[in-house]
């Protein structure tokens, strides 16, 4: 029997290793030969640990499996009549409704098997890029409409073109796998579930711009991902492009591209003033492509199947698919890769199944700690860069964090400022000092001290941070703060509430 058990960190966190061990034990006791393959996760986290078994009709899934379920599963040889049987994984609505391009292999293949990688379409993109040559490869990426998935949504093709056109003795490809935004885990899943996909994407980038060295900068909070990626680099058969894995050291701001480059150079992770752009003077002063992991890992499928096919998905200027990550207080938390255009309400209520607590969803933070809080009244907003910007929000790296009606939005606004104070790189005063003043002012508001005057002070401070900060840490912290105040004003008038209680 061939049995698939995820080795994804989130699956391990809920017991996947114990399940795998229990299966091996039971197999020994029952004298059955089993081949346990550790895969990435399919991203249906409420069903993890989700175990799959190979059958002549394809795989059949079971979940969530606890170690105590293994005895009955094994005795019945994973019979589909078992109460935990989910049927064919591809038929589970949450998966069936997705368009998996970037995550096509994740959760299916053994992440460190080169045979699996090739058998599931691996290397086709790089092979086509090699036959097209650098200029045509670049053109494909531009035509696909791919925009950076790290948050800013900058067109990837234009960034690459700038580096391709720069003359230099060396150029670099840097993969930003710092993924610090709460509510996001797409980079982690891909590192753990399909690392060769990233290697292929980076090699294509190297070919397109004329770089032969790449760095993958992974945050230290992801030890499993570091281990798997390092092993994948050792196994990589790609000639002429060398990759080195580097590990961060617990600084959120190092996800900002220039701070990340400083960190790679061995310095404090402080943000650089632009210009010069990294594309002109990046790592060690050389022209550098720095992209989010998902941007890079999407390139192989664009090259393999053509720019038109990718660009056919999406809406407006947001082309292709986005791996949206449903998180927090949500019934069906997981990775949902889909064409741009799906509404926030569909994502939360329909696909996500509402809150896990069963209480009404009240606020949804989209795009990480620098993203705005959306009330139900804005649930008709389509998932699209421009549509979210028009509502004073952002989609960021695609994380959606749901809160039920027990949330205190004053507390959330205070946390946004506190997080900025903790993580500020210290370079600009509005961010470094302003955030701390903001926390103090929020404390007063929460105690009921002159709320109107103090809220005006917060609004003023947010203006200063927005326009006086060098990077988006200071510049975007006003989004969660002001959206909380604007959409949930009742949470900021404590005396009334205190009197009522």
């Amino acid at each position: 029997m061939r049995i698939f058990v995820p080795r994804d960190a989130a699956a391990r966190a809920v017991g996947a290793d114990k399940v795998a061990a229990a299966i091996a034990d039971a197999a020994r006791q029952q004298g059955v030969a089993v081949d346990i393959v550790r895969t990435g996760s399919r991203g249906l986290f409420w069903l993890e640990p989700m175990v799959e078994v190979a059958t002549p009709e394809g795989r059949v899934a079971f979940g969530p499996v606890a170690p105590r379920d293994v005895a009955s599963l094994m005795t019945g040889r994973f019979d589909p009549s078992h109460p935990l049987c989910l049927g064919r994984p591809e038929e589970i609505a949450f998966l069936k409704r997705q368009t998996r391009l970037t995550f096509a292999r994740c959760g299916i293949v053994d992440p460190l098997s080169l045979d699996d990688y090739r058998a599931h379409g691996g290397w086709r993109g790089l092979e086509r890029a090699r036959s097209l040559g650098p200029a045509k490869t670049l053109e494909e990426v531009t035509k696909s409409g791919l925009r950076g998935r790290g948050g800013a949504g900058f067109p990837t093709g234009i960034k690459w073109k700038t580096v391709a056109d720069a003359a230099a003795d060396r150029k670099y490809i840097v993969c930003n796998a710092d993924e610090g935004d709460s509510g996001t885990y797409a980079d982690r899943m891909l590192l753990e579930g399909d690392p060769f996909g990233l290697i292929e994407g980076m090699a294509i980038a190297g070919l397109a711009v004329g770089a032969s060295k790449g760095y993958v900068y992974i945050r230290s909070e992801y030890p499993d991902a570091v281990r798997i990626m390092r092993r994948a680099v050792e196994l990589s058969p790609v000639d002429g492009f060398e990759i080195e894995v580097r590990v961060g050291a617990g600084a959120y701001v190092c996800g900002e591209e220039t701070a990340l480059l400083e960190s790679l150079e061995g310095k404090r992770g402080q943000v650089r003033a632009k210009p010069p752009l990294p594309a002109h003077k990046g790592l060690f002063g050389r022209p550098t492509v720095i992209n989010n992991l998902i941007s890079l890992a999407t390139v192989p499928s664009i090259l393999a199947d053509g720019a038109e096919q990718y660009a056919a998905f999406g809406m407006g200027r947001s082309r292709g698919t986005m791996p949206i990550q449903l998180a927090g207080n949500i019934r069906h938390g997981g990775l949902f890769e889909t064409a741009f255009g799906v509404t926030l309400g569909e994502l939360v209520d329909d696909i996500g199944g509402g809150t896990q607590s069963g209480r009404p969803a009240r606020a949804v933070q989209v795009g990480g700690p620098l993203g705005a809080y959306f009330p139900r009244a804005l649930f008709d907003t389509p998932f699209d860069y421009e549509a979210f910007a028009a509502k004073d929000g952002l989609i960021g790296h695609g994380g959606i964090v749901v809160f039920d009606d027990t949330v205190d939005m004053a507390h959330q606004a205070r946390f946004a400022l506190e997080f900025c104070a903790i993580e500020s790189c210290g370079k600009c005063t509005p961010c470094r000092i302003g955030s701390t003043r903001g926390v103090e002012t929020m404390d007063k508001i929460m105690r009921g001290e002159r709320p109107a005057a103090n809220l005006a002070l917060i609004a003023d401070l947010c203006q200063t941070m927005k326009f006086g900060s060098l990077c988006a840490l200071g510049g975007f912290t006003p989004y969660p703060v002001m959206s909380a105040i604007q959409h949930f004003p009742e949470d900021f008038t404590r005396p009334l509430r205190a009197a009522a209680e």
Binding site: A13, E221, G250, R268, Q325, F419
Partner: protein, 154 residues
């Protein structure tokens, strides 16, 4: 965990010879070997890399990961970021801290456990989450205190 010694530090430096921008990888290895970045390491690394002490100190102090003194024998990192907040991470954290009589960043008097705050472990669909000695844990409840206590032997 070894006490600071220059022979081992030299081994680490040698492993990173020829690497571009080697300071962070070196500091990670130093902390792995000695449990922290000891004060003696700063001038030693500065000298080897031709940097000033202030530069190396500046880097060590910038990053949350690097410690001046070793942590307890077990390190529990509890996530305090938004997705975990939405699933009552703060009340779980309170139970854990209460049980061990600790504040954030504190170590039990017997040196058994250090509890630290962290901001997102990428386990946000299974919140609240934590990491114990590098091993991920998720869907925590206040009842998990017992399990953590068992794991660290208290």
């Amino acid at each position: 965990m070894a006490a600071w010694n220059e022979a081992e530090a030299n081994d680490i430096l040698r492993r990173h010879e020829g690497r571009e921008g080697p300071l962070l990888p070196i500091l990670h290895d130093v902390q792995e070997a000695f449990g922290c970045v000891p004060a003696e390491a700063v001038p030693f690394i500065a000298h080897a890399l031709n940097l000033s002490r202030a530069e190396v100190h500046g880097v060590v102090s910038f990053y949350h990961d690097f410690r001046h003194a070793p942590a307890g024998r077990h390190v529990l990192k509890l996530c305090r970021a938004e997705a975990c907040q939405s699933m009552n991470a703060e009340s779980v954290a309170e139970s854990v801290l209460d049980h061990f009589g600790l504040d954030w960043g504190g170590t039990t008097p017997d040196g058994r456990l250090t509890v630290e705050a962290t901001y997102c472990l990428g386990l946000c669909a299974c919140a609240p989450s934590a990491m114990l000695d590098g091993e991920p844990m998720a869907r925590l409840t206040s009842a998990c205190v017992e399990e953590i206590a068992r794991e660290v032997g208290r």
